[in-house]
Amino acid sequence: MRWLLLKDLQILRRSPLVTALLVIYPIAIAVLIGFALSRGPEKPRVAFLNEVPTGTPLNLGGKNFDVVGARSELCDKIDCIPVSSEQQARDMVQSGDVLGALILPPDLVTRLESLAGLSPQQPYVRVLVNEEDPVKAGLVDDRISSLVTRANLKISKAVVGTAASYLDLIVNGGNLSLLGQTIDILGLSKAGGILHAIAAELGPHDPFAQPLQQVITFSRLAEQNLNLAKPLLRSVAHPIAVRKDIVSGSPPSLDTFAIAVAATFTLMFVTVLLVAGSLALEREENAFARLTRGLVGRFALLGEKIALGVVASIAVTLVMLAGLSIFVEVDWSRVGLFLPAIVLGGAAWAAFGAAIGAGAGEVRASSLLAFMVSLPIAFLSLVPSGTVSAGLFHALEVVRALFPFHAAETALSAALDPAASGLGPALVHLAVLALAYTALARVALRRFS
């Protein structure tokens, strides 16, 4: 077997273009996919046009808001690209330089302040978007909605605070500033005390005693109910809190997930294409008949091809991890865990490639078949639960069980990140798949003769 393995490595060495494509292309694709998956637009680029006159203070219900601080907070959530005109913002959105544009109109502060006054006007912000595809449209909607919801929450807290202070004034009394004048408000609590004193002076048979008692009762009920209204208002300002309980799964970090996905894509492309092509080449060069007439058994030939795939997997994946470790942290002390994951992942994909190569019988057909089968499997294996219907997800679980992508990704994630779990079962899964696809390839080899 070792002579055949050496022969295949020699052939690879003699085909530098194919080898380079086989190694560089999947690594490039894998790294791009991995980072695209893990590094979503957490801080999307948004053009920001502030038309509110500089230095305009924002006062809601007597409380001053830090406008500069609010802008900084906003630009912490998105990558604000300041623009000087609406046309500039439109151009940037049109060209795709930014995901969207957020425009604060000149009267925004005035309208916001009116919310705490007697004639409120609905404040608004303007958003420019380029909905060139549904995914981008959905992303922009989600991001802008999220930002506006945060802003609304802050404002509603301020308005509720103002409303609560008015209620407090009605219940307990105090001073109210209105149109430059200070008005002294008695309050229901003090009014009740005065009424009680008057009722005591009148005596029980006084004709005003009964109506006065009705006013006292109304005043007490009003005070009690308005006191209850204050916590109710506060709960309206922030009605739902999130308490998260993890029921199952211990996910790896996004970086680890990206590395695992990238490595799994690399394993898949390199081993499937290499092994399928190498096995089909034995037939194309008419060597298969010569080899299997007693020189090499069919299982031994498959074993050699799978070994070739594993050797290539180890080399390419370690090179890729070394390259990735420049950008993200790879815990090399866990090499004893991720090496078995690479070996078994490579073996499972190599056996899958052998089945494809044996079934196709020609190098070009096997390469085409490898792409046609592998890519959909990879993407279907990445669909998370809850994002599709239950029936479809059950079907996807079958795909995950039958093909090595999900098991390889789980094994690599668990091997790379101590927070992730499931290394043992994933390795067993990969070993079973390697054996099953080897058996399938052996059956398919009958077509070679």
């Binding site: 002579w3 020699q10 052939i11 003699r14 060069e285 008949a289 080899l291 003769s449």
Partner: protein, 237 residues
Amino acid sequence: MSEQASAAIEVRDVVKRFGGREALRGVSFNAARGEVIAVIGPNGAGKTTLLSILAGIRRPDSGTVSQPPGEVGFVPQQAALYRRLTVAENLRLFARLEKVPDVEGAVNRMLEQTSLAERSDDQVATLSGGNQQRVNIAIGLLAKPAALLLDEPTTGLDPRQRERLWEFVLALAGAGTTVIFSTHNIAEAERYGNRLLVLADGESLFDGSPSELHAAAGGSDSDFERAFVAFLRQKGH
């Protein structure tokens, strides 16, 4: 010594089926040491199937094949070579797989016999069809087999290359190697075969010398190919 005792290869009642189709129907013949046997017949006659059974690539459904103690060398119709490897690397690989005791000695011997020593470091892909076929045959001879099986060995070769190939093969036969080859070239079969084995639809129709086949066809036509076609027609093919 009886014919059976001196036979290098002995084939008895070999039957091979592919699904419901019988590719070989009870074929029997012997091949002696140093004999050159041409297997001829129309397309689909079973020539390649017979050679692949003799080579051990396929197993017969019934019947027996006795082979000599030494290896049977097999040269497939199309060159079974790794085009990205050099001539010497191909020879060395197959010598190792054949478990030849002295690998380098065997490689040098075959390079000398095939007159390809000067091209030993050239990739097979750069060789002409004739030279590729010589390497193909050299691989079949690495283990010094007592019998050599050649499946349509001169297909795609020009007349000069064919002549050089036959000089080489006949020299092997002269040294005692049994040679069995299949061909569509009837003139080549007549010229180089000591014996002809005629197959049609998996059935053995004739086993004898070219002159005997000519006589069996009536002997009226001096052209051997026309005589062969007449013979097939007589037999209902």
